[in-house]
Amino acid sequence: MAPVLQIKNLQKTYDGGFEALKGVDLEIEEGEILALLGPNGAGKTTLISTVCGITVPTGGTALVAGHDIITEYRQARSAIGLVPQEINLEPFETVWNATRLTRGLFGKRRDDKLLEQILRRLSLWDKKDSQIKELSGGMKRRVLIAKALSHEPRVLFLDEPTAGVDVELRKDMWEIVADLKTQGVTIILTTHYIEEAEAIADRIGVINGGQLLLVEEKNALMARMGKKQLTIDLRDPLQSIPAGLKSDALELSEDGTQLVYSYDTNSERTGITTLLAALSREGIVLSDISTRQSSLEEIFVDLVKESAA
């Protein structure tokens, strides 16, 4: 099956000359969750706005559900639900009316049952007749999601869905996203919280300076980039690494009380057994051992640094 979203060489240069997107290529399969990671100003929101029709691309193409976003904008946009980053809601309107408006705008027949289902799933049903200004920040975000879902989109864009949201609500949001995935909705979310991408995404794209640096399976990315470190605490400090142990992967801390051994979890031999055997042969007494895996955050920081260099 063709990807539900096909972006080819998409470019956006704003009137002031700022190049927000420098030719982005991206394909997304139906039903997957893609997290777009990037620092502020990386082009995440511009990418979403361009695909959704809020800004006009200056180059390249994008197809949503097989329809070009410019020439077949009606079909393309009909397939998209958008949850914007800012809480853009009319404060005096009720939850129900706001949700109904969106469904109508997308040309869908009135369907009160469906709206009820959506509002119930987002725990908004008992607030349906409340004015939006009476709701908490987290609730308002849910209203934005309810609006986006009201027209049964195949692709859902979530632009920083958990920016400025407390931990509990963030977990809540992740559950909602997981729930949507089980219903077959394709989800593209932007975030600069690495743990968010780590928690819910199938694939991760890293964007910086208007360029997509990479798109990879989350697990593969972590395995590929992920290094593990074994830290060994020594009972008696060493002056230097004994000659029999010398290796590129082994480092001695400045005060001589710790040995740090870096290895790759994917390789056949990690070299840990050999190292430990050698340590006991040298008569070095260990007081503690710990291991640590580099997080997506470190991977991300490395990537962004590389691209800047």
Binding site: P91, E93, G104, L105
Partner: protein, 253 residues
């Protein structure tokens, strides 16, 4: 044509109106009554008749036009400016709607509200003076066309405005003087000859004159010219809106 979307926008805009129905209703009633007290009674007692019509009755079409024009502009300009201001415009831009549909929804709603207020004023006025309407169909047609064309103009202002001050600027600095100098409260023939000529450059004169003709079968300019003026004005507004949406001016970057 995404008629569902047009209806959704129209309905959404109208709920705002119904939410504030009481104040939508009361303010024109009070202001009309005030105009009658000030113009009808105070000035009317000195003028008595204008071309066979009592002065109090004579100002009714002008009063209705004055309110309808101001209401059309403010409803439509606020209607489209507010989503821009609070950011909900994203929804219009990302929805499968074209510009005609957005305009129909917003302008239709703004014109409906203005029409409603026009009818309320007509009702209030009929409490003060005896009104017979010579050409009822033409009266309704002029009223509807005025509502629509001024709502279109309001829509343009709403798109153009970058802040609330600008939103008030055009109605206050341009429309109000044009309406007051457009023969709302007097017949053009009452003016000195020089001013009569100058007044003919004021487009509002033609609208009020045509509307007054529908009531009393008397006009400052011929009805045909009035109709052409309103058609021309509508065409200019439509053209401007078409250009705005084609270029995305101040809406889509």
């Amino acid at each position: 044509m995404n008629l569902t979307a047009v209806w959704a926008i129209y309905r959404y805009e109208m709920t705002r109106f119904f939410r504030t129905l009481l104040q939508s209703f009361i303010s024109p009633v009070i202001s009309t009554s005030l105009y009658f007290v000030v113009f009808g009674t105070a000035i009317g007692s000195r003028i008595e008749e204008v071309e066979g019509v009592t002065y109090a009755a004579f100002i009714v079409p002008g009063l209705i036009m004055l309110s309808v024009m101001m209401q059309s502009i403010s409803n439509a300009s606020f209607g489209i400016y507010f989503p821009k201001f609070i950011g909900t415009i994203y929804e219009m831009l990302s929805a499968p709607v074209n510009f005609l549909e957005i305009v129909l929804g917003y302008v239709g709603a703004a014109a409906t509200k203005a029409l409603f207020i026009g009818l309320v004023i007509l009702g209030t006025a009929s409490l003060f003076v005896d009104l017979t309407i010579a050409h009822p169909f033409a009266m309704v047609a002029f009223l509807v066309l005025t509502c629509l064309s001024f709502a279109l103009m309001g829509f343009i202002i709403g798109i153009w405005a970058k802040n609330f001050e600008q939103l008030q600027l055009v109605p206050l600095l341009i429309v109000t003087p044009l309406v007051f100098l457009g023969g709302s409260f007097y017949s053009i023939s009452m003016l000195p000859p020089v001013w009569q000529t100058i007044t003919l450059f004021n487009p509002v004169v033609y609208l009020i004159s045509g509307f007054r003709w529908a009531f009393f079968d008397m006009a400052d300019v011929s009805v045909g010219v009035s109709l052409m003026a309103i058609a021309g004005f509508t065409a200019i507004c439509l053209g401007a809106i078409w250009w705005i949406f084609r270029t995305g001016w101040r809406i889509r970057s």
